[in-house]
């Protein structure tokens, strides 16, 4: 029986420089998915890397072995120095916990800004990549598709999503209340987080004149700059840009404020006191709250912005609870599906389905032929029963044999699809809602029959 394992680190467990190093290294060289043929115990794998998280989602038969392989992959392939004590930053989720965690991530409940919509797109990209590398099969295929539909459900049934969208919208609305038209204003992004992107998109839609990006890792800055037609600024020189820029969006992972009172104060005269608007969406904060005391300088942190849209804290917590409830429900449904992948329940339901069909057909026949005697009826019953038995004999023997193998899940899933066993929890519904994604194929093991 395969285990689903999720190994990773996020903004809560790892400092930003570690995360950035890891994410950058993973993107730079060959994708870690490329290494999967060399891994003995890891069966399926999806690799998700954003600026706030790095996660390996994989299935394996032995959790300890799988962990060892993935950690080794991290160390050697990614080239992290041995001095970095990686273990203290990592978290590990197994089976249902991993499923739940993935659902939380997809629904943006685990994000730095709860409800920000970018993460789902990033997860879809990660999945697409895994499909290209052919590293997802039955379980992860199903799991990822499920996570997309869970995210969609959370988005439509709670207002978690509108919360984050309106945070960046609130920032733009405030900027418009300070500056009026934004067409001659320039925006500086310090740190290139998910939320910064969202804010940048909103500001760009307002037609700001100029956009600049300063980020610790230049590559990420360049990536963002290319997307928003922006310029990059060396990270250690962004303070100089305060002289010319009008709106600053801060989202670095720094633990200490990167902009303090004197930094701004001393540059206000050179700016000729033109208003300066800081949008500080970093947690912990990037801009010292004292900066707000300077004339013509306005500092809004994430709480202030959330206060602007009058969704109060209680309401937000309430929404988060609803979302978690949805996720718990879906996790249980997924567990049921996972359980059905073992041989016995599959065989049972194949038999049940056949028996149901047989009974229905027999009943129809009897009602059309009312003058059958009891003996004749009995004969028909026996006849149909034995047809079914003979017909199902070989498939069931086959399934029982395969149940001993590691790849049983593939056959069980295939069987279920072949007989259309799971009418309610069937995979088809999630596929229809994701037309932009490659449909999960029932991948039969060819080159990697682990048996």
């Amino acid at each position: 029986m395969s285990h689903i394992v999720l190994l990773g680190m996020n903004h809560k467990t790892a400092p930003v420089d570690i995360r950035e190093q890891l994410a950058a290294a993973c993107l730079k060289d060959i994708n870690p998915l490329h290494m999967i043929p060399h891994l003995e115990h890891v069966e399926e794998m999806v690799f998700l890397s954003t600026c706030n998280r790095v996660e390996f989602l994989f299935t394996c038969n032995s959790v300890a072995e799988g962990m060892r392989e993935i950690k080794a992959l991290l160390k050697t392939h990614v080239g992290l120095p041995a001095s970095v004590a990686l273990d203290s930053y990592l978290y590990l989720h197994k089976d249902l916990d991993a499923v739940k965690h993935l659902f939380m991530v997809a629904s943006s409940l685990d994000s730095m800004i709860v409800g920000e919509p970018q993460i789902l797109g990033q997860l879809k990209d990660a999945y697409r990549c895994a499909v290209e590398y052919r590293t997802v099969r039955v379980i992860l295929n199903r799991l990822l598709h499920k996570s997309f539909s869970v995210a969609k459900r959370v988005r439509t049934e709670t207002c978690i999503g509108s919360c984050a969208v309106s945070v960046s919208y609130a920032a733009v609305a405030l900027a418009r209340k300070i500056f009026g038209d934004l067409w001659d204003k320039s925006v500086l992004l310090i740190g290139a987080g998910e939320m910064a992107e969202l804010a940048a998109e909103n500001f760009l839609a307002q037609g700001v004149k100029r956009m600049m990006v300063a980020n610790r890792t230049l590559e990420r800055a360049m990536e963002l700059a290319a997307r928003f037609r922006a310029e990059t600024v060396p990270f250690d020189r962004f303070l100089e840009e305060l002289k010319t820029t009008d709106i600053v969006v801060c989202s670095t992972g720094a633990l200490e404020p990167v902009i303090v009172y004197q930094d701004v104060r001393s540059r206000m005269r050179e700016r000729r006191n033109r208003p300066l608007f800081f949008i500080d969406i970093a947690v912990p904060r990037d801009v010292d709250p004292k900066v707000n005391k300077i004339d013509n300088v306005y500092v809004y942190d994430i709480d202030d912005l959330q206060g602007v849209i009058d969704l109060n804290r209680e309401e937000r917590l309430n929404q988060a609870q609803i979302a978690e409830h949805i996720i718990d429900e879906e996790t249980i449904k997924f567990r049921d599906w996972m359980n059905s992948l073992s041989a016995v329940p599959t065989i049972v339901s194949v038999r049940q389905k056949a028996e149901r069909i047989r009974r229905n057909e027999v009943r129809k026949t009897f009602s059309q032929l009312p003058d059958l005697s009891d003996r004749q009826k009995e004969a028909i019953e026996i006849l149909t029963e034995s047809i079914i038995k003979k017909l199902l004999h070989d498939p069931i023997v086959f399934l029982k044999k395969r149940a001993q193998r590691d790849t049983q899940a593939v056959y069980m899933d295939f069987t279920q699809q072949l007989f259309n066993l799971a009418e309610s929890g069937g995979g088809s519904e999630s596929r229809d809602t994701q037309p932009d994604l490659p449909a999960p194929q029932p991948v039969l093991p060819t080159d990697r029959g682990a048996g």
Partner: protein
């Protein structure tokens, strides 16, 4: 007839103000258009009354503080009506029209003894002196209203505590730049008006400066605005401090205009028996 027109004008201003105050709470373009038109009608009646007075007496209605304030109120309203067409800053009406009512009502409460010798007021110089100063003060009055709006809006945004006017008030930069525009237009007018006054005084009284309290206060006011203009242009002052200073400047102007005329003696005084 004149006083009848003045009453109608005051009533127009009053109802225009009511319209604009309702507009503060209800964002209806229609409401603004009606209020603006009522103010315009008031200004027409007001202007007719002033014209009739001038035609009758042969000089501008400036001989008493009552008349002077009444004339100023007219200049103020007309300045607003014209600027409104250019600026399209509708909410400004809600802050300006109450001032017009205050000027009209207080002008009718002030004493109206004729004291100033009429011959001085027939000169074209006096007309230019008064016209440019009144226009300057009217512009400063608008800057004052804009300053109040700015401070309100600024405190909402700074304290992150959004009062009910937050949504209705325009962006800070817009308020600041219009105030700047009023100031840059008003200050040269004020300077010119004062210089003409000094020149005329030099001709009539053979000395440009006679330690008249109104002269002294005018110069103080001028210095306040000079500081404001200098800081705005040279240092780049803007926003809260500039708003406070323009509020201070206009208050000083009002003090100069009313208090000095009423309580202190001199050329400009209208208190009976002192001259």
């Amino acid at each position: 007839m004149e006083s009848f027109f003045l009453v109608i004008a005051t009533l127009c201003y009053l109802s225009g103000t009511v319209g604009y105050l309702v507009y503060l709470f209800r964002d209806r373009a229609q409401l603004h258009r009606i209020s603006w038109t009522i103010l315009l009608a008031g200004a027409l009646f007001h202007g007719a009354a002033l014209a009739m007075y001038t035609a009758e007496s042969g000089h501008l209605p400036l001989t008493t503080i009552h008349e002077a304030l009444c004339l100023f109120a007219w200049v103020f309203v007309v300045t607003y009506l014209v600027l409104q067409i250019r600026l399209q800053l509708r909410i400004l009406g809600s802050f300006v029209s109450p001032l017009a009512v205050v000027f009209m009502v207080s002008s009718s409460l002030l004493p109206s003894h004729i004291v100033l010798r009429n011959e001085f007021f027939k000169s074209g110089w006096v007309i230019v002196h008064v016209a440019s100063l009144f226009l300057a003060i009217a512009l400063f009055g608008l800057a004052f209203s804009l300053g109040i709006m700015y401070l309100l809006q600024e405190s909402y945004i700074k304290k992150k505590n959004f009062g009910f006017l937050y949504g209705r008030l325009p962006p800070l930069e817009r308020l600041d730049s219009i105030a700047h525009y009023c100031l840059m237009l008003g200050f040269p007018l004020m300077t010119a008006g004062l210089l003409i006054g000094f020149a005329y005084a030099a001709v009539v009284w053979h000395s440009p400066w006679s330690w008249d309290p109104k002269e002294i206060l005018s110069v103080v006011t001028w210095i306040i605005y000079a500081v404001l203009v200098h800081e705005r242009l040279a240092v780049g002052w803007r926003g809260r401090r500039a708003a406070w200073l323009s509020i201070l400047g206009f208050s000083a102007t009002l003090v100069t205009f009313i208090v000095a005329s009423l309580l202190l003696s001199g050329h400009h005084s209208v208190v009976p028996g002192k001259m």
